[in-house]
């Protein structure tokens, strides 16, 4: 059965008890992303350190499928405590895997639990679900750097 390839146990665990769920204060920037094909929504907040170099906190509220919720949950585990630069490296690796149609061998060193999403890459319609939180994170970080702050 192919379902288990996509919905690996790690994904289902994150879906059932998502990390970083519930919007938190304080935060430096917030981003709202919508998947126009299905109406799923994520609002994600980012708090960086004073120098703007380290990710101190990420929180989110996700209205969406198991893939989008689990992906946002894994994201918080992976990027909190990393430098912004490191987080962008992880993001790039995640994006490459997710958009790789199952042909990209994920680097577990960089992606950790997120390698579980490799199976999602074989389902093009679900790639956007997996990327929704990551796009919100990227946008929020850019907003902090651009000084645009909390406007979604």
């Amino acid at each position: 059965m192919q379902l288990e390839q996509m919905y690996q146990e790690i994904i289902l665990d994150h879906y059932r008890s998502p990390h970083g769920s519930g919007l938190k204060d304080p935060f430096d920037a917030e981003s709202q992303q919508i998947n126009p094909t299905c109406g799923d929504e994520i609002t994600l907040r980012v708090k960086l350190d004073d120098a703007g170099e380290k990710v101190l906190d990420v929180s989110h509220e996700t209205l969406g499928c198991s893939i989008s919720q689990a992906s946002a949950s894994v994201l918080t585990d992976l990027v909190i405590g990393q430098t912004v630069e490191e987080s962008m490296t992880i993001l790039a690796a995640f994006q490459e895997m997710a958009q790789g149609r199952g042909k990209v061998e994920p680097d577990e060193e960089v992606l950790g639990d997120a390698v579980a999403f490799a199976g999602v890459a074989k389902y093009p319609a679900r790639v956007k679900c997996a990327l929704l939180g990551w796009m919100a994170f990227k946008d929020a970080v850019v907003r902090v750097q651009d000084g645009k702050g909390a406007n979604a």
């Binding site: 059965m1 289902l12 299905c38 109406g39 799923d40 929504e41 499928c65």
Partner: protein, 434 residues
């Protein structure tokens, strides 16, 4: 011209999908590791029988040429084939051939009407006869909360361009248009609504909505995308001013749709797209336009697609639209009865067979529609998940997404029954089953 071969089930009392299915080669393929395809997404696009594909191929192999230009034999044959398709499609919906404009799809048909009004409003209409399409601040366009984006966004844009106001009938908890919740006014110029909801399957009270629109002198546009493929539809009897439908939802090709307009209205409407074929006289200083429907068919039109749609109409006519509808109602009953028995499933829309068609939308507690769809897909069952281009309607019901199963002539009771089993499997997989 060869006449398309009638479907095997034609002429039988009722409709037996088992007899028709060999006409639809795609239905015998397998998906996802060898599972038989269970196609329950005909509301998005229907499958095409061999008779339609054969008609397209025969046209392309024997008659292909640009229509309405040229005087050689192929040009004559192509034009005959194209106009013959128009006539048969017109008869199918109770209209005259000259009242049918071939467009790319229903979306383009609605935009054509909206832009004809827009052009009239900036006084680039034909002349005094186009004044009736003029809109300005204070005028109203009325739609409903259950519209497909195709019958909403073009009107929003028309309002933006003209300063008119968009208003809408709300939808009841049962998924019906709440006709008493909005009063039309003398300023209401257009009332546009779906004959059958593409999500809920509910069929609109056309007669009542038309009566109210007529009472204030408003024009009525009917989005017939989900009705013409599934029910007997007589546009003249419905007394609407405009109607649109798409070929690919009625066993025909994509890339072809139809705008119906009453002759008197089409004659007074300025064009939307301009260019070749739609002209009467062209000088460097300006041009005059051909009478309808040519006025609205600029450029070399889709031809094999129109021929294919003609064959699709022949196919449906041979089956009998009463039979098609009865068949889909029987399937809908099975869908509603079996889904209702699954704890945690909530039907969005009418939970009865009254004034509805063969489209069933639902949500499953604790399992997102995408995830339900994925489990169904794993079992070979193709459904639509998401908002189905009716986002405001989903917001109305407080859900981001629904699962939608939709049927056609080839859908079997056994296929529909697999739906509820698949939903139970999804609940089990995500640990939400009761």
């Amino acid at each position: 011209m060869t006449t398309a071969q009638a479907p095997a089930g034609a002429g039988l009392a009722g409709l037996d999908p088992a007899v028709l299915r060999p006409d639809f080669a795609i239905l015998s393929r397998t998906v996802r590791d060898g599972r038989p395809l269970v196609y329950l997404d005909s509301g998005a696009t229907s499958q095409r029988p061999r008779q339609v594909l054969d008609a397209e191929r025969e046209f392309l192999e024997q008659h292909n040429s640009a229509v309405h230009r040229g005087a050689h034999q192929l040009a004559e044959e192509a034009t005959d084939a194209y106009e013959s398709a128009r006539s048969r499609i017109a008869a199918f919906v109770g209209a005259d051939p000259d009242e049918l404009v071939f467009v790319k799809n229903a979306t383009e048909g609605i935009n054509l009407v909206a832009y004809a009004m827009s052009n009239s409003s900036i006084r680039t209409g034909l002349g005094p006869e186009s004044e009736r399409f003029v809109l300005g601040p204070g005028d109203e366009i009325v739609v409903t909360e259950l519209e497909h984006h195709a019958n909403l966004v073009p009107w929003q844009e028309l309002c933006r361009r003209t300063g008119a106001t968009l208003r809408w009938y709300p939808v009841t908890d049962e998924g019906r248009i709440d006709v008493d919740a909005l009063e039309l006014s003398e300023r209401t110029k257009v009332v546009a609504f779906a004959h059958q909801s593409n999500v809920l399957g509910s069929v609109a009270p056309v007669q009542e909505l038309v009566r109210r629109a007529r009472a204030v002198g408003a024009l009525v546009l009917l989005d017939a995308c989900q009705s013409v493929p599934h029910l007997p539809v007589d546009l003249r009897a419905l007394d609407v001013d405009f109607a649109v439908f798409s070929g690919h939802k009625m066993l025909g090709p994509s890339g072809v749709g139809v705008l119906y307009g009453r002759t008197e209205l089409l004659e007074a409407m300025p064009p939307f797209l301009t260019g070749g074929s739609m002209i009467e006289l062209v000088r460097m200083e300006g041009s005059t336009y051909a009478p309808p429907p040519q006025r609205f068919e600029a450029g070399v039109p889709m031809t094999s697609q129109a021929v294919g749609l003609g064959a699709a109409v022949d196919y449906l006519t041979a089956l009998g639209m009463e039979n098609v509808h009865a068949h889909e109602m029987a399937l809908t009953k099975v869908a509603l009865d079996t889904l209702r028995e699954v704890p945690g499933v909530r039907i969005i829309g009418p939970d009865s067979l009254e004034s509805r068609g063969g489209t069933v939308a639902f949500v499953v507690d604790g399992v997102h529609a995408h995830d339900v769809g994925q489990v169904l897909d794993d079992r070979g069952i193709a459904v639509r998940v998401g908002h189905h281009c009716a986002w405001p309607l989903h917001r109305r019901f407080g859900v981001a997404a629904t699962v939608r199963a939709s049927f056609h002539v080839y859908t079997t009771v056994d296929e529909v029954a697999q739906l509820a089993d698949g939903v139970r499997a999804a609940q089990e997989f995500f640990g939400t089953g009761l």
